[in-house]
């Protein structure tokens, strides 16, 4: 993993997010459908990245419970776009060699006859590089 300052810079560049726009109203987390399943919530992603406290996020399962439903993006009164930040942190993890969260060999056991292809390609795009 790159050093801390570079990592923050990379995440901000890849996401296009400026966390300093956040006024900490918490609406992103209030509207998040995955709130109950997350260790770190959308508003925490915003201020933790801003403070450079990124390491705990890299280790967190919260990266894989974000649904990218864009509720936080749509409803943020300051247009901070937290989901884009979550995506950039997730990419910082899975772009590392061997760090895929979902592997092709895991797939057969997860299939059922009705599962749409869309679910598989979407999960791969979210969980693997």
């Amino acid at each position: 993993m790159e050093n801390k300052a570079n990592l923050k810079e990379q995440i901000l560049t890849a996401s296009g997010v400026n966390p300093l726009k956040c006024m900490r109203c918490g609406k992103c987390s209030a509207t998040c459908p995955s709130y109950d399943e997350m260790e770190y919530h959308p508003h925490q992603f915003v201020y933790m990245v801003e403070k450079g406290n990124i390491e705990p996020l890299l280790q967190s399962e919260s990266l894989y419970t974000c649904l990218t439903c864009f509720a936080c993006v749509e409803r943020c009164p300051r247009n901070v776009q937290p989901a884009k930040l979550v995506e950039a942190v997730r990419l910082a993890v899975i772009r590392e060699q061997g760090a895929n969260h979902l592997k092709p060999q895991d797939i057969p056991a997860l299939l059922d006859p009705d599962l749409p292809q869309q679910a598989i390609v979407s999960a791969f795009r979210k969980y693997a590089k």
Partner: protein
């Protein structure tokens, strides 16, 4: 009216009904959908990061092909629509992405987002018109209480999708009314079904899908319609506490048009 048509991977496999009834209904409404030759899978979710290039190329290929054919591009699957429309927006606004895509693709003329991406529902509203559909509904679904489920992908981000009011959409309710049925409005119609978490965190998809159908049923829905194969799957398979029927909007449309 002739349009290019992008069906997407799932409409060729698990969501054949979404495709079949879309084509049949279009024909009945005087619309010709010409499937794009050699289209590739959109990838299912929009690659959000600004430094993602390769993952956007399949969408650009479809968009550019449609531009070459001189036609607007029609999508039906919510996911395909979201991905292709957002990539098109990148091609209109992000110089860095445009330049890198041009380097990859070596097109005769650079692609800059010229193609209009139109969802099938928008085509019904803006090109065919709900009044025409009302006239052609030979088998109106009288008195049937139908709840539209929008989910996330058609509506958000509204600054790019510009599909409808993201918090209070009406397009599917207007379609339901035009088909002679009674639209059911409910609070969860634009909240997430759990999406791809069904693959490895099924409990999230179950919780979210159950919440959607609980809200629809509490408001009297006898049927739920959607444009998304993954929403349909989650609402049918993961909403374990509910059994209200869930169908593709195209199937209900075809039924009302007397061709299903």
């Amino acid at each position: 009216m002739v349009f290019s048509y992008y069906p997407g991977c799932t409409l060729k496999t698990k969501a054949k009904d979404l495709d079949k009834y879309a084509r049949a209904s279009a024909e009945a409404l005087g619309v010709t959908l010409e499937e794009l030759p050699d289209w590739q899978c959109c990838g299912g979710v929009y690659p959000i990061a600004k430094d993602e290039i390769a993952t956007k190329l399949s969408s650009v290929r479809a968009l550019n092909r449609s531009k070459e054919l001189g036609r607007d591009l029609i999508t039906v699957c919510s996911a395909c629509h979201n991905v292709i429309k957002q990539v098109n927006h990148d091609m209109q606004t992000d110089e860095n992405i445009v330049a890198k895509v041009a380097n990859y693709m070596k097109l005769d003329a650079p692609y800059r987002g010229e193609t209009n991406v139109i969802h099938y529902l928008e085509m019904l509203r803006d090109k065919v018109g709900f009044d025409t559909i009302r006239e052609k509904a030979v088998n109106p679904l009288k008195g049937k209480k139908i709840a539209a489920y929008y989910g996330c992908l058609l509506l958000r981000p509204s600054s790019v999708m510009a599909f409808d009011d993201p918090e209070n959409p009406t397009i599917m309710e207007d379609l339901i009314t035009a088909l002679g049925a009674e639209p059911v409005r409910y609070s969860m119609r634009n909240e997430c079904c759990g999406a791809y978490t069904t693959l490895e965190k099924k409990e999230i998809a179950q919780k979210k899908s159950n919440a959607v159908l609980a809200s629809a049923e509490a408001n009297g829905a006898e049927m739920v319609i959607t444009a998304c194969p993954l929403c349909l799957y989650n609402l049918k398979k993961n909403a374990t506490e509910h059994d209200v029927p869930v169908k593709y909007f195209t199937e209900v449309l075809a039924e009302a048009l007397g061709i299903a």
